[in-house]
């Protein structure tokens, strides 16, 4: 009890940089530029054109998350199955690209995918047809999967590592095939890692606007672009805040949904 004062800096920090800004955004979302309570800004958010933007952002982020899972899970399994000597090397190779600037990596993809970019030069020299996916949704999804894949692999990997291998041996002793053991034992036990991975990929993917601008060629506005525009170009802080609040609610709902599942599965990394 006597050491309680040690937590005060943390509380002040939280109040200054989390609670107050958040309260201000909520305040703006429900007021008019003159400061009276109004629902105009919130009503504008549910306008079909803005809902379309929301939907497209969620669709692209969702697709990327699924792809990350389909690629990331087997990769995590491979990591766990590798000998210790090589394993840390492999983990390092997944982590190292993340040390480089995110923007730089996305720019690199831009030059790789260009009409006269490296990939197409190689394809042409092999007499294969060129691919023109830069400035399409494919390029955006590719950029998201590339940038966020480590966030899927690592939580799954850490959960799989901690798993008791005796369980699988027991299953096999009792006559289960490897596939059955995987479906009935390994996969259910790895679910907390999967949920954590999904969250860590989906959240940044749904709010990104850099990837969509660079690799999507600014063809489609995503939520991030929309909010940025309201604050910087239009100067409509109320509508910008309303969009942010709507986004926040969506994220909170999905968080709540996830954490419910995680509790049932005896807790994961984050909750």
């Amino acid at each position: 009890m006597g050491k309680k004062w040690l937590t005060y800096p943390y509380h002040i920090w939280m109040a200054l940089f989390t609670v107050i800004p958040l309260a201000l955004i909520v305040f703006f979302a429900f007021t008019s530029p003159t400061g009276e309570f109004t629902l105009t800004a919130m009503q504008r958010v549910v306008d079909p054109i803005y809902l379309g933007v929301f939907w497209h952002s969620i669709y692209l982020a969702g697709l990327s998350t699924i792809l990350c899972f389909l690629i990331g899970y087997p990769m995590a399994m491979i990591l766990v199955g590798t000998k210790l000597k090589y394993r840390s090397m492999l983990v390092l190779m997944i982590v190292i690209p993340m040390w480089m600037n995110f923007l730089l990596r996305t720019y690199a993809w831009m030059t790789l995918l260009e009409r006269k970019g490296l990939i197409n030069i190689i394809l042409t020299s092999l007499h294969l047809p060129v691919v023109n996916i830069l400035y399409t949704d494919y390029a955006v999804v590719l950029g998201m999967v590339y940038n966020f894949l480590p966030f899927m692999i690592l939580p799954i990997y850490s959960v799989l590592m901690k798993m008791d291998k005796n369980l699988i041996e027991a299953a096999e002793d009792l006559g289960a095939s490897r596939w059955q053991a995987f479906i009935k034992i390994t996969f259910p036990l790895s679910l907390p890692g999967v949920y954590a991975g999904i969250l860590m990929v989906f959240m940044p993917a749904v709010t990104t606007f850099v990837i969509s601008r660079l690799l999507g060629g600014g063809q489609y506005t995503l939520i991030g672009n929309l909010i940025e525009e309201q604050f910087l170009a239009v100067g409509d802080w109320n509508f910008g805040s309303a969009l942010s609040v709507f986004m926040l609610v969506l994220i909170l709902l999905s968080l709540g949904f996830m954490s419910r599942y995680e509790k049932e599965n005896e807790g994961g990394m984050f909750f």
Binding site: I20, P21, G52, V53, N132, R213, L214, G217, T221, N225
Partner: protein, 351 residues
Amino acid sequence: MNKIVKFLMISALCLVIGVMLVGCGGEKTVQRELKVYNWGDYIDPVVLEDFEKETGIHVVYDTFATNEDMYVKVKSGGSDYDVVIPSDYMIKRMINEGLLEKIDFSKVPNYKNVDAKFKNLPFDSQNEYSVPYMWGTVGIVYNKKMVTDPVDSWSILWNEKYKKQILMLDSPRDSIGITLKMLGYSLNTSDPEQLKQAKEKLIEQKPLVLAYVVDEVKDKMIAGEAAMAVVWSGDAMFIKDKNPDIEYAIPQEGTNLWFDSIVIPKGAKHKAEAEEFINYLARPEVSQKNAEYIGYATPLPKAQAQLAESIQTDLAAYPSDEILKNTEVFDDLAKNIAAYDRVWTEIKAAR
């Protein structure tokens, strides 16, 4: 009430930024000082050094990337700049909001060097607040090897032949503006019907557009990734310099004529030094140095006359008066900015 909240929010932001910048050294009050806020890479560094040597005024120099960034920082009041160089429409907005100080032109005798056609511009019609720094146009750069048709109309941006080879500016004002010009309207229109027509045109164009870009346009055009692009004239000069196949054209329907002008924010602490600096920048030989370094056009005829022959006669940099007759300067949209934003969102959301 709302003002207070806005103030709180901005000061919270400033606090964070301030804490990060605090390490950059304390105040030096002994020396005469001047705080300048300009676009990135938008002055010849030699000019700053020479000014410091000549006057003994210590210049603190910061840069911004967009008018909007600059606006938020100056409006919040935490920055105390003495000289800022924003664009036309933003100057109007700042005048309207009382954010600028009137310049004492008796302290800026070199103002007489500014071309008469660049005085009393619509954004500062009595010319009380601003001195032009650089100016330019918006036009089309095209690759002569890829474009066979004559480029004399904005409508070439709607030509099916160049499907997925057209780059547009990812900027609502410019892209909607040139479309309005093509349709024969003012690029400052507030008529919803005219805006609607422009919107439909741009949605119709969308399948032909390779991408909406801003700075990437330079790399893309130099590398020959696209046949044509809408650009600002200064970028056009840069691209032409790097790739001889590129040409710049200003369509006959007219275009946007833009200015970056020097202003003094309200409450500047070093107004006298600021006016001295403005006067210095309006010297022909100084403006010439800047024009050569930046690649945009100087508003001083005497400076222009000193430039290399090839630049002076380049219509991209210094279009003829005949072309200029057809141009329009951006006005502050004020309340109407929401209508433009809505149109732009609808274009971007269309599929």
